[in-house]
């Protein structure tokens, strides 16, 4: 076994980072938990009760999770064909597609979102094109709508979906799909019964990354969604910075964190099962 090779590295090398993260990541999260249990006169679940019995808060949580699902679906519908194109392209085109996908990932989130203000604005590309074509008389309201947020966020997070899909489709043996079609399965049937199951680990990894990134993002939401739409991260910020209510902000963070972890756990479970089938 390679792991037992004489030149295996010393496991103690992992200790500095281990203690660094224990001290600066695990301890703060534990403190967050403790502070979220502070009520006016001692400790208890008061802050959680306040959140869970408040329709306004629950709607924000529901809206955030829905936004995550919508963005993830949009990314999957467009990202899968892009990964498919990548898999059947020659080498140079593969690199080019990967760089096009990487570019938004590495460009500043503020810059990417700024582009969407230009595209969706009253004098933006879409409105000017529609007015120019005589389809509408007055510019549409595209900024500050949920549709606008989903479109912008889908573009911002697309790389997180495409990269795992590219990896999964690249690993899949192309002979399997060929075999299916030679045996008489139509293209769509081959896709459903061969390509999709083989790509499933990549799909799940992509969905996991896209979902967590979209629900925890807030720059795109705040600039494209405007002040009217509130999602969980902005709610935490508002309570912590604007109102200075640290215990409630901590409780919101913990609830949000637990929700994200539940989704992550469910998707990883699905991922493990799908890998078992392949």
């Amino acid at each position: 076994m390679a792991a037992a090779s004489p030149a295996g590295f010393d496991p103690r090398l992992a200790w500095p980072l281990g203690s660094f993260l224990a001290l600066l990541f695990a301890v703060p999260l534990a403190m967050l938990l403790v502070i979220s249990l502070q009520t006016g006169d001692g400790y208890g679940f008061g802050q959680y009760a306040k959140f869970l019995t408040d329709w306004f808060s629950l709607r924000i949580l529901g809206g955030t999770l829905r936004l995550g699902v919508e963005v993830t679906i949009a990314c999957l519908v467009l990202g899968f064909p892009l990964a498919w194109l990548h898999a059947r392209s020659p080498g140079w085109a593969k690199s080019a597609i990967t760089l096009v996908v990487l570019l938004p990932l590495l460009t500043s989130v503020v810059v990417r979102t700024f582009a969407w203000i230009v595209i969706l604005g009253r004098q933006g590309i879409i409105n000017n094109a529609l007015v120019g074509a005589g389809l509408i008389d007055t510019p549409l309201r595209l900024l500050y709508t949920e549709g606008g947020v989903v479109a912008a966020l889908a573009q911002v997070q697309m790389p997180l979906m495409v990269l795992p899909l590219v990896a999964a489709l690249g690993r899949a043996d192309p002979n399997l799909a060929d075999a299916a079609s030679i045996l008489g399965a139509g293209a769509w049937r081959t896709w459903r019964t061969v390509v999709l199951p083989l790509a499933m680990p990549g799909i799940i990894a992509g969905c996991l990354l896209t979902f967590t990134a979209s629900v925890t993002a807030f720059i795109t939401q705040s600039l494209v969604g405007g002040g009217q739409m509130m999602f969980m991260p902005a709610y935490v910020l508002q309570q912590a910075i604007a109102l200075g209510d640290m215990p409630f902000a901590a409780a919101i963070s913990v609830i949000f964190l637990v929700c994200v972890l539940i989704v992550v756990a469910l998707l990883s479970l699905l991922g493990r099962r799908s890998r078992a089938h392949v």
Binding site: M1, A2, A3, A7, G8, F9, P11, A14, W15, P16, L17, G18, L21, L24, F25, L29, M31, L32, L78, G79, P81, W84, H86, K94, V101, L103, L106, T107, S108, V109, V110, V111, F114, A115, I117, V118, I119, G121, Q123, I125, A154, Q155, M158, P159, V166, G186, A187, W188, W191, T212, V215, T216, F218, S222, L223, M232, V236, M246, L257, L261
Partner: protein
Amino acid sequence: MFDGPLADAPLPAKRIADWEGRSYHWTMAVLATLALLLMLSPTIVVLVISFTSGLSLRFPPPGFSFRWYVALADAWQLQFAAWNSFKIAAWTTILSLLLGVAAALGIARSQRLSARLLDSLFMAPLVLPALAFGLSALMLFSFVGLPVSPLTLTLGHTVVCVPYVVRNTVASLTQLQPELLEGSASLGASRMMTLRRIVLPLIRPGIIAGGFICFMASFDNIPVSLFLRDAATDMLPIRMWQDLEGKLDVTIAALSGVLIVATVTLMLVMERVAGLSRRLA
């Protein structure tokens, strides 16, 4: 195409298969093109609008000029924020490389449970909401009496950026051929020498790619900076975000143009040096 009996295959079935194959390829190709356009167009839009001669974000621009790039030269607040972000990102990358490469060497190629657990710990900051971490880090620092400063910023950034270094270094370590290490050891090289002469040169592209992504992630970080910076440390993405919330300033377009050109240049350099596209896909 075929001679003999195959050529006489029943026509309807063949036509259905043909139609099906074509509809599949067309759907996929159209959606893929749409996705490529969606990925590229925002960048192009920003580059075009940054050369506008007008005062608004009207698209297409009424004319073209360099006026907003000239205005950028006087935007001292943005320059100050950019310098701060650069310094913090540089320190974060140095610290992340020191901690992350060592940790990757410690856990890679190990099947032990402790290594798997540590791996989960090292990746956890990527999954958990960074904003929740920023808030809790602020609570910790105020609890121990450490005022927010460039130091707390660097520490906080390192927590959320070090996973990129670990992941990329571990990935290149797993591809390392064990025979090389065994060969080096059997020829009498000490572990330190094997590490310096064999391992580090081979995994260097992975380390560089990880460090690059770490730097970009730190430079662009907002959720952690929001909580851990002091009043004197203005960070570029936060400054841009707040400028865009207040008024739609075209100077931001010019700054975005500069950032895009810098990002593309760095990406192409990294593609040459570290094979970025092969590494991440």
